[in-house]
């Protein structure tokens, strides 16, 4: 293979100098007569951030960061010609991601079962059916230490064991694909990109608990995921991987798909069961847990999509292998959907115990457009925020809980300095109020009242008494709500309250929004001494609140202004103040 050199300017501030550097580098290659043998390529992203000019030499993969023009001859001589790293200059790039759940995502054609089989697909199933008793499978799962990836973190092996031991002539296996947290889409991606691994996980689970019937519960908003699962189930039936006598054994299982109609609460297992039964998606008090008395009163095991995708690998490589990944309490890896104001949004899979900083800065490249990250939000509407000061926190079930957040299903929303924490709390609470099923009073009434108070605060009408009341209602909801939705709905409020009390106080006492986000508490003014009278703001205003002309300058009519911030964004000389 010929030599290839990647270059990219990774500095956060200032102009991108990749092109200039490219010219210099190419000049040096020409001097040495190497321009035809070496491919010099400007890349869009080199996977390293905030380290100046970065050069990578392939195929050996020598990486150089903060490269100066004077360093080029040495790199060309040693690495490009010599195939060796430049002594003392070459750096290594830590490999932070570890792909177990996403092992096939983006690698195989999700609509081809052959592609999946070629990547060791259904080998774990063959191994299990060929010689493992259900008890041995459960033992292996318990040894792996895998905990439910839907958020609660209940040990999967234990759940299987309870369902196995429960009395019942018929048992059911359910895959929970009712992913609903704002900003989370790991399960959709896995279902769309690697449907067979989830099916394989389900068959193994069904074998372990002794079920002969399984259901995929997928939300109707995921049409492509449904289509691909449907196709995959058909392919399996045709090849004897589903149906009677799976892979020549005596084990039978059939899978069916049930669609969720879009209610968030149906991700809760008792509500999900009610929904499959054709009833209204209402949660019911536990115990009895579904493992004892679930779908149609029979023992039922419900596992999340990501949990199931882990299972074939665990049984291929053994529980001991899996428990070697991660930290003391949380084993294996976790997929996060990193979204919000981050440079590279997308899916990342890291071993448990990776620090937040590595995910936000190391893998995802930090904040977008040079602003600074303020906090992250994990766990969706049941979770909380973690401020930047605590980015050394490890991601595992216990550490995140200690910080007042939760692991949740894996949504990670990055917020920057422009995000107001009161507004964030209001958003998540609004989501829970919308999605509350209305069955129990603490959630139905408490949520609405908390939202009313938060709206009052962001409108500049709040008092210190309101803050006390917020806390009081929060505790009541946590204690008295029927299901997880109501019990955890106040979490975003409590967690922002804990870390950003000053922001709440500013809203209440000074009627100011420090992040300049709450429309009622800010105003825009044109600074006449800085204004160039260009008229850009005049044209951008959607409500014609800016008057004037290019001779006399411009003024904002505060009574008409809707505080959308359009003028602030478009003003190049920054002559519009926001306060």
């Amino acid at each position: 293979m010929g030599k290839t050199v990647f270059i990219k300017d990774t500095a956060i501030a200032g102009k991108d100098k990749t092109r200039d550097f490219y010219g210099v580098f190419l000049g040096i290659l020409r001097e040495k007569g190497l321009e035809n043998e070496v491919q010099l390529v400007r890349v869009a992203d080199v996977g390293v951030y905030g380290q100046g000019m970065v050069v990578r030499v392939l195929p050996e993969n020598f990486l150089y960061t903060n490269v100066q023009e004077s360093d080029i001859p040495a790199i060309v001589l040693e690495s490009v010609v010599g195939g060796k790293p430049v002594p003392g200059k070459s750096s290594t790039q830590p490999s932070r991601q570890l792909r177990i759940v996403l092992r096939n995502c983006g690698v195989i054609d999700p609509e081809s079962i052959e592609d999946y089989i070629a990547r060791d697909g259904y080998q774990a199933l063959a191994k299990v059916l060929g010689g493992y008793t259900p008890e041995k499978v459960i033992q292996e799962m318990k040894a792996s230490g895998l905990r439910g990836r839907g958020g609660a973190g209940f040990p999967t092996g234990t759940k299987w064991e309870i369902t196995r031991k429960a009395q019942g002539d018929q048992k059911y296996m359910i895959c929970n694909g009712d992913e609903g947290d704002p900003g989370a889409y790991m399960d959709r991606s896995v279902l769309e990109s690697d449907p067979h691994s989830v099916i394989e996980g389900m068959i193994i689970g069904a074998y372990a608990i002794g079920a002969s019937k399984g259901y995929f519960y997928i939300r109707a908003e995921y049409p492509l995921a449904i289509e691909r699962i449907e196709k995959a189930i058909l392919q399996c039936r045709e090849r004897g991987i589903l149906g009677e006598g799976i892979l020549g054994s005596s084990f039978n299982l059939d899978l069916e798909i049930r669609l969720g109609a879009g209610a968030f609460v149906c991700g809760e297992e008792t509500a999900l069961i009610a929904s499959i039964e054709g009833k209204r998606g209402y949660p019911s008090p536990r115990p009895p847990f579904p493992s004892i008395k679930g779908l149609w009163g029979k023992p039922t095991c419900i596992n999340n999509v990501e949990t199931l995708a882990n299972i074939p690998v665990i049984l291929m490589k053994g529980g001991a292998w899996f428990s070697g990944i991660g930290n003391e309490s949380s084993k294996g890896t976790k997929v996060f959907a990193v979204t919000g104001k981050v440079k590279n949004s997308g899916l990342v899979e890291v071993p448990m115990g990776t620090v937040i900083e590595d995910i936000v800065y190391g893998i995802c490249g930090g904040a977008m457009s040079g602003k600074s990250v303020k906090a992250i939000q994990t766990g969706g509407p049941s979770g909380g925020v973690i401020p930047k000061e605590f980015f050394q926190t490890k991601v595992d079930y216990e550490s995140l809980q200690k910080m007042g957040s939760i692991m949740g299903s894996g949504g990670m929303i990055v917020m920057d300095e422009d995000d107001c924490m009161v507004d964030i709390a209001k958003f998540y609470l609004g989501f829970c109020v919308d999605e509350s099923c209305g069955k129990c009073a603490p959630c139905r009434i408490g949520g609405t009242q908390m939202l009313r108070i938060l709206k009052k605060i962001t409108n500049g009408e709040g008092t210190q008494k309101d803050l006390g009341q917020l806390e009081q209602i929060s505790f009541a909801m946590q204690k008295a709500s029927l299901c997880g939705l109501g019990q955890t709905a106040p979490n975003p409020v409590l967690s922002t309250f804990h870390y950003y009390r000053a922001e709440y106080d500013a809203h209440v006492d000074q009627k100011k929004c420090p992040a300049c986000k709450c429309a009622k508490l800010i105003r825009f003014l044109i600074l006449q001494d800085k204004c160039l009278k260009c008229g850009t703001c005049f044209k951008s205003c959607p409500v014609n609140a800016i008057s004037g002309n290019r001779e006399s300058g411009y003024l904002i009519d505060q009574t008409k202004c809707i505080r959308c911030g359009q003028c602030f964004e478009v003003c190049k000389p920054r002559a519009i103040s926001r306060s």
């Binding site: 293979m1 010929g2 290839t4 990647f6 990219k8 491919q39 390529v41 400007r42 890349v43 869009a44 992203d45 080199v46 996977g47 990578r56 392939l58 195929p59 993969n61 790039q93 490999s95 932070r96 991601q97 996403l102 096939n104 995502c105 983006g106 690698v107 195989i108 054609d109 999700p110 609509e111 052959e114 592609d115 089989i117 070629a118 060791d120 697909g121 259904y122 080998q123 063959a126 060929g130 959709r188 991606s189 769309e192 990109s193 690697d194 995921y222 492509l224 995921a225 090849r239 004897g240 892979l247 020549g248 440079k343 590279n344 949004s345 997308g346 899916l347 990342v348 899979e349 190391g362």
Partner: protein
């Protein structure tokens, strides 16, 4: 189907090293325009009579850079092109597949992180 059949499918599939292009076809990719990219690649392949297989795949996780196209050509580094449009897809076929030259400014070298 038995364990033996699984093995034989695996062997048949993993046989030879061939040139391929994979286009990310999950919701994220399709929404960003993967379909147009895929059709352009097929069309350009026909035009150039190129020795390359064009496949669909799922989401690799670099959602901010969709549509993503992964290109594997013998004796060249396997790379991801991000934010691919019709024009870049044409360039990938002309320059990368036929000319054995990587296309500038569109490679997302994120495999290792």
């Amino acid at each position: 189907m038995t364990k033996k059949d699984l093995e034989s499918i695996k062997e048949k599939h993993n046989g030879t090293d061939r040139n391929w292009i994979k286009v990310g076809f999950s919701t994220c990719g399709i929404a960003a325009g993967a379909k147009e990219v895929y059709e352009t690649l097929i069309e350009e392949k026909r035009k150039h009579n190129a020795d390359v297989e064009i496949k669909k795949c799922g989401c690799v996780g670099i959602c901010s850079a969709e549509p993503l196209v992964e290109v594997h050509i013998k004796n060249m580094p396997t790379v991801f092109y991000g934010k691919v449009d019709k024009e870049v897809a044409t360039k990938i076929m002309e320059k990368h597949v036929c000319g054995k030259m990587l296309v500038n400014d569109r490679i997302y070298d994120l495999k290792l992180n």
